[in-house]
Symmetry: C2
Subunit: 593 residues, 2 copies
């Protein structure tokens, strides 16, 4: 069975050596000294590797079952969920007034990665709850907050997001679910929603569904969509649980993966719902959840890559097969371990350099969110809004590819379910699809985020890269050649792509949209390149400062050099595709495909 | 449920417009007129789409079951297998003297693609039999051929290949299975083999296992391995079935995919076996099967891409979601079909240009095999030997990626098993692993095939590309710019990579091996580039000749242009990785990963 060990040391490196969180001028960050974060991360590391990870394969094998309207989660989930709640983990970065611990998002993200690596399907129950609670926090009335948040922050009640209907996913304007206003100010919600993660299960006393629906007489399309709170069990005025609401699970889906999470068809049959936020402004409220959720999904992508990598690495060290062509490394054994072979190393280095680079990227993104939420930093808000589709799309695509590489290290054993490597690929696959399929992320990036606020945020990003290069160039010739030059080249490629869109997208938007996916990927590479340059610099500083763990920091430098030499040059390919324009993409009539 | 329609027309185009099979000077090819091949392909197309394809999802859902030593195949497999046998399909390209139809391999490959697209797991039962029969044909005594081949050519008996053991896959020198010589000239085989596809099932009267084992006292390592015929049921001198042999299925594996094929642990407990070929020359005999099998596996990769693409295309035309940004295409409907969106087209064009390019590549490879077998063409044999790891490694990696793209077109529905898109990805995944994991293919290519016969074959390949460019340049400026120039650039990249290996691989072989995987991929791209240039040229000739189906040929040209503009430039990225050398790949100590 696969193992999971929390990468606490690497997280500490990113938080303190690279991001220097305690020195950042963000309220709450002053507490984030290394000892303090280490204590949290070690505690979370223990829980996730000892309690949560061992249930991962059980969740996959057993899945969830539906009988008489009751969904049962896999063996052990309930107990583990109780332990997670007991430790107060679900409320880690939630406000104290609702029972949370008010930690910055960056800490919630680091801990979230551990949970997700350990057991993605299990972690979704709290993840969805967190998203729903955030939406209520942002858009709910005081009464709504008081009614729902304390129980959701503790995960005594869990939450869901209900967007998709059988005939519409991305294009929510086609939605049919209806909300009829009632005299008491509530609404009767009627319709069917599909793909509802954690829609029904046996681990919480109540489930708070956030449901998009159209109020009778609402404008057509996306502008007529409102968001509603629909509790599974109605909540009385005194906070006690009342009658069962008219919402029921219709079916649970047979999926490719995340079997431990119940993916439900939910039927609303005149269920009582309460408007959350303003009428017809449901999409805006939903986006509060979705932006947070998209960062979380990007994190899922990297989390599965990390977990799969750890196991591929173990296997590569253990499995004896063939000999090192440059000389035997295990002369007393029948063969050398797989890890001596260059092509196995290529695969492991791809995985390692991705996972560590992606971790830094997500944690950096989380500090931007914190700056936005806690310090009203508009520039940070704009930047993280720009980066959100990159984090979601790039990290889930690449994260998935890395699980495939990890599986490949196992040879035939990788294909056998018992070894658990297939599950990492099957679970991580969903991250490329949900919360907006990655093609939609690319569209969001190129069609919306690039030009947002007059292109201010993308300019800020380029400035940030340029400033880093300028401030660090000329001090170490190797660092310049191995880190800064590749980063400069890649960043120029990205700028050239943006320029191409500006020059050619006006006369034909397809010139931009045909390149959107490549743009998202090249943007992702530049972000990871920036992170590796920052990590490389931090490692050099630590070594120069006489850090005791020389091997750790030298490994960082080696891994960064690998990324720069072998991964970052992908930007040139993406650029050449983009510059080939829309013509070959759009040439065929639909009938001629 | 997914549909499958055999791409008969496209196959006819490749066979006649591009490869001009009937004009080739290969014995047996003189019969391959267009009408004749059309009749075969249409018949195979009907059988595969109407009988074989509908069982694909059933096979996935039910899988095989083992009870009391008996393996049951999924519902309907037995009947369909009977129909396949009835039509004589398993013996299509087998010699007439053993009941086959003596067709060239190129026809067997075209038909094989249809079977594999329709139902990969089902088709493996005959595929393995074909491989085992080929090995007996090439290395068996007359008596062995007479005893086994008639029943194997008809698929009344099926065959298997037994290589892997729990502790060794790639490194077969570590093998432990033993063969003790008996006085009657037979051997007693004892050991355990794993991952044996079609190892036990209920569709044949007998199963002929080809088993690698070490004869008592044999040299150590790979040089002491011999190949044996081990029938499940012993065959009496008169050809009737005798006693049960001491071979039994120990278990069937829970796999990620190809559930319809039984993947068995086989236990040999002093089973009677007969030496096939020479003592200690088992690997050579096995390679007869493996080279054929590797082409077949490359074909599986493309076959799943084709099947998945057909369904993604249907979905993209049917599903209404969003609007074309350049103007509504379905103004009377609630939304436009997915296929209007540039990013969906990018994905579909990737899939289409891959599937058609790969088909041409495999069929071309098959003509080389035919030239080698039927016309003793040593140059063709050398070339196809060089291309075999490219066909296997590149087409299965890319084929898999295409199934992922096809699944992505479905959004959330792609993740639900009911829609069948997950199965294409799960089934095709194995093709990257078995018959030598793709990293081993890359090693074979760079470590062995490149330098084979003094590098003669790779030089011949480059000459072939150069000659094509030279003969076709200067006639049409668009064709030069859109097809020949990109091909020339890519081919130069490939040559530069080969040059890098020559210059740097001698002093440190890791400089070559660290780039082997990228080399395999860039070689694959150049091959598909060559095929697209040839197809583009053929389409132009047809259009100039007044072909009636103008749309078909114009679509070919459009699709080729897409490949040239969007896929072929990947060679530059692969080259830059290769030229970065071994240093970053090999820098880390194993303990520091």
């Amino acid at each position: 069975m696969p193992r999971y060990t929390a990468p606490t040391k690497d997280m500490q490196f990113v938080l303190h050596d690279v991001l220097k969180v305690a020195e950042q001028n963000i309220p709450g960050y002053e507490d984030l000294e290394a000892d303090f974060t280490a204590a949290i991360l070690e505690e979370a590391g223990r829980l996730t590797s000892e309690v949560v990870a061992p249930l991962n394969r059980i969740g996959d094998t057993e899945g969830c079952t539906l009988e008489n309207g009751i969904v049962r989660t896999p063996t052990g989930f309930k107990d583990a969920f109780a332990k997670v709640k007991e430790g107060g983990w679900p409320g880690l970065d939630m406000p104290e007034e609702y029972g949370g611990q008010n930690m910055p998002i960056v800490i919630g993200t680091a801990v979230g990665e551990m949970f997700s690596s350990a057991n993605m399907a299990f972690t979704m129950y709290q993840g969805l709850t967190h998203g729903a609670a955030s939406a209520i926090l942002a858009h709910g009335s005081d009464a709504q907050k008081d009614t729902y948040l304390p129980n959701m922050v503790s995960c005594d009640w869990t939450g869901t997001m209900n967007l998709t209907e059988p005939h519409c996913g991305t294009d929510l304007g086609l939605m049919r679910t209806k909300a009829e206003p009632q005299e008491d100010g509530s609404y009767k919600i009627t319709g069917q929603k599909i793909f509802i993660s954690a829609g029904e299960h046996d681990m919480a006393d109540n489930i708070i569904h956030l449901v998009l629906a159209k109020i009778t007489g609402a404008p057509d399309g996306i502008k007529g969509v409102s968001l509603f709170i629909v509790p599974k069990i109605c909540v009385n005025d005194d906070g006690s649980l009342g009658a069962r609401n008219a919402v029921a699970v219709g079916n649970i889906e047979e999926k490719m993966g995340i079997h431990g999470n119940s993916t439900c068809v939910m039927n609303y049959d005149g269920a009582t719902g309460y408007l959350l936020g303003e009428e017809h402004k449901g999409m805006r409220a939903m986006f509060t959840m979705m932006n947070e959720a998209r960062l979380g999904v990007g994190m899922q992508g990297m989390s599965q890559a990390e977990a799969a990598y750890q196991n591929a690495l173990d296997y590569a060290k253990d499995r004896l097969q063939g000999r090192d062509v440059t000389g035997e490394k295990n002369p007393d054994g029948p063969a050398d371990p797989l890890i001596v072979h260059p092509d196995i190393r290529r695969s492991l280095m791809d995985q390692k350099s991705f996972a560590e680079g992606a971790r830094a990227f997500i944690l950096w993104g989380s500090t931007l969110l914190d700056a936005s939420h806690r310090a009203d930093d508009a520039a940070a808000e704009g930047l993280v809004s720009l980066l959100t589709p990159v984090i979601k799309g790039f990290l889930t695509d690449q994260g998935y590819d890395m699980t495939i590489k990890a599986q490949q290290v196992y040879g035939g054993h990788g294909y056998i379910e018992e070894w658990g490597m297939s599950q990492f690929t099957r679970d991580s696959r969903i991250a490329m699809i949900y919360e907006g399929a990655n093609g939609v992320q690319a569209l969001d990036l190129v069609g919306r985020k690039l030009a947002q606020d007059g292109g201010k945020h993308v300019m800020a990003f380029f400035d940030l890269v340029k400033t880093f290069i300028k401030e660090n160039a000329g001090q170490d010739a190797d660092f310049d050649a191995q880190f800064l030059e590749p980063l400069k080249t890649a960043s120029k490629d990205l700028q050239a792509a943006g320029m191409y869109f500006m020059q050619n997208g006006m006369k034909n938007p397809n010139n931009a949209l045909s390149g959107s996916y490549d743009f998202m990927h090249m943007f992702g590479h530049v972000c990871l390149g920036l992170m590796w340059a920052r990590m490389g610099k931090a490692a050099m500083v630590a070594l120069e400062g006489g850090a005791s763990d020389v091997a750790f920091y030298e490994t960082k430098l080696h891994t960064g050099r690998y990324y720069m030499a072998r991964q970052l040059p992908a930007t040139a390919l993406h650029l050449s595709r983009i510059q080939s324009g829309a013509e070959t993409v759009m040439a065929l009539e639909a009938a001629h495909f």
